[in-house]
């Protein structure tokens, strides 16, 4: 109940107990489930990018690189979650002003971004189901290798979400966001040797490839799938780089990303 004190409304009720899980699920509903339910055609779209590259690599290599290409497709799907997050958040923020309504509510940036990240995974499910089925059929690995792959995909996902969130907070226009999204996707998921071993890249260009965290992710995944044999030192360095890049980007996002505008 509210009452008046000195001309002001004073609310007597105790602060409402808020359901944090529902705060996360709200983003999932808005950004994935309602869209999928009301516009089912979007489900097809999520499969196209990773599968088209996979098919191309498999054809060009006469089937020899199918394992690497499936792993590459999974990495691209995970990385694509972040680039999609960038455009989706920008769309909700700049075109609908929905994010402004959320900022001025008890939802926190953590719950909002967690929900949006979850929505991107759900949105990618069609591709992940197809790629996961192909992986189960074509990639034969040990339980440790399987866990490594899961760890790699998860780290790539977190990295991309952090990149996507940071860019989304700076973007003031959906056209700008699409440009950022395509640029990031090309630099980190298309150009680096994600769908094939890095040994296929001529030596001087390999150093450039190592500027992308997805190159390290692909090496680790290919090693886990038995397509590449990494030395223990390289294995450790790859993990170290991958985790460090994620941690640094996370720190940058916390410091620079703007939930409340300045």
């Amino acid at each position: 109940m509210s009452r008046l004190v000195d001309g002001s409304v004073v609310t007597d009720v105790a602060p409402m107990k808020r359901n944090r899980l529902n705060q996360i699920l709200a983003s999932l509903y808005v950004n994935a489930l309602y869209e999928m339910k009301n516009y089912p055609v979007v489900l097809l779209n999520t499969m196209l990018s990773p599968l088209s590259f996979l098919i191309l690599i498999v054809f060009v290599s006469h089937g020899r690189l199918i394992g690497e290409a499936i792993e590459g497709g999974l990495i691209m799907s995970m990385f694509g979650a972040g680039t999609s997050l960038l455009t989706d958040m920008s769309h909700l923020k700049n075109d609908f002003k929905l994010q402004d309504m959320v900022v001025s509510s008890p939802a926190t940036w953590q719950t909002y971004v967690a929900g949006m990240a979850l929505s991107e995974i759900v949105y990618s499910l069609p591709a992940l189901v197809v790629l996961g089925t192909l992986a189960a059929y074509f990639i034969h690995t040990t339980p440790a290798g399987f866990l490594t792959m899961i760890g790699v995909f998860f780290t790539v996902f977190v990295t991309s979400i952090v990149i996507g969130y940071t860019f989304a907070t700076f973007s003031s226009d959906i056209v700008q966001s699409f440009a950022f999204s395509r640029l990031i996707s090309t630099l980190f998921a298309t150009i680096p040797p994600v769908y094939y071993p890095i040994t296929y890249v001529p030596l001087p260009y390999r150093y450039l490839a190592y500027l992308s965290p997805t190159t390290y992710a692909a090496e680790l995944a290919q090693n886990a799938g038995g397509y590449l044999s990494l030395s223990p030192q390289t294995y450790l360095v790859d993990w170290l780089v991958l985790i460090s890049v994620t941690a640094i980007l996370f720190a940058v996002a916390r410091r620079k990303a703007k939930w409340r505008e300045t």
Binding site: R18, K97, D100, M101
Partner: protein, 301 residues
């Protein structure tokens, strides 16, 4: 109380101040309407108070809670429909309102129940499950207002919620807002002066980032020395008497006179005698606004 002290917002180092040392306090009861021309700083003010935007300097609080240093506490109590907010095209009104309530931490069952009740209250029960993109412009605005009304927030910021609405929809909106203001505080911005006049318990006038007046309509009326407003169309060629107690503003469409009661009757009688067309009314908010903006412009050059 909503209190602001020396509140200033500058976008970029060389940019003009969107808000320039705004200081005021207003009771958080009923409806407060902030009026001003485009670019006067209304939206910046709302965005700062609703914790979306940090001010460059100064302070602001809602019922004693600082919006700059304690935004989380403020957000427990507020909800906003931003200027230019749009309904998400792929969602329905029901999904729009209920997902917003989930963001506020309601259970699914309560979110649905409150959303349906709010949509029905605004006469949208039958459209609750239609896609937003199929709704008219007025209905879409209603969805957004129903969304925040469904919440538990007791301070509502509505930034130009009636822009683009037809006159009938706008009046429907007014009765919803009056009803809402019985239980909650509504902070409204508009550039429809008749809207402010019809709704406001308190009115603030912003011009070029500065708050030039604040108070009730009555107190604003008293802040200028005139009681009546006469408007004489340009096609009614008349020689006007020299004004003793009034002021004359030569507009492109008409000649506008603000004056005291006696002089207003005198001029009216003279114009009527000559058979000229004119209007005479008690000073309205539009007259006050016009007068204050012109005077403010003269003072600041």
């Amino acid at each position: 109380m909503i209190e602001c002290a020396q509140l200033t917002k500058r976008y970029g180092r060389r940019e003009r101040r969107a808000l320039d040392s705004v200081t005021f306090s207003v009771r958080s009861r009923g409806i407060f309407v902030l009026i001003g021309r485009n670019g006067s700083g209304k939206t910046t003010m709302v965005r700062i108070l609703s914790t979306e935007l940090e001010p460059t300097s100064g302070s602001a609080s809602i019922d004693g809670v600082d919006v700059v240093t304690s935004p989380t506490d403020v957000r427990e109590r507020i909800a906003i429909v931003p200027q230019e907010a749009k309904t998400v095209s792929w969602m329905t009104p029901m999904q729009t309102a209920s997902s917003y309530l989930l963001w506020r931490g309601f259970s699914r069952a309560e979110a649905k129940a409150r959303s349906l009740a709010s949509l029905e209250k605004l006469g949208m029960g039958n459209s609750a499950d239609s896609l937003n993109r199929t709704l008219s412009g007025g209905m879409k605005r209603k969805v957004l207002v129903a969304t925040v009304l469904a919440s538990e927030a007791d301070v509502l910021f509505l930034d130009e919620p009636t822009t683009g609405l037809d006159p009938i929809s706008r009046r429907e909106f007014w009765s919803i807002l009056r009803e809402t203001a019985k239980e909650r505080f509504v902070f409204l911005t508009t550039h429809y002066l008749e809207e402010a006049e019809a709704l406001a318990d308190d009115i603030g006038i912003l011009d070029r980032g500065r708050l030039i007046r604040i108070g009730t309509l009555q107190s604003l009326r008293k802040s200028i020395d005139y009681d009546f407003s006469l408007r004489i169309p340009k096609d009614q060629a008349v020689s006007l008497p020299r004004l003793r107690n009034g002021e004359l503003f030569d507009g492109s469409e008409d000649t506008h006179i603000l004056t005291v009661e006696d002089e207003a009757y005198e001029i009216s009688r003279a114009l009527a005698k000559e058979g000229r067309r004119f209007t005479i009314n008690p000073v309205s908010l539009e007259d006050i606004f016009f007068y204050l903006i012109v005077k403010e412009g003269e003072q600041t050059g």
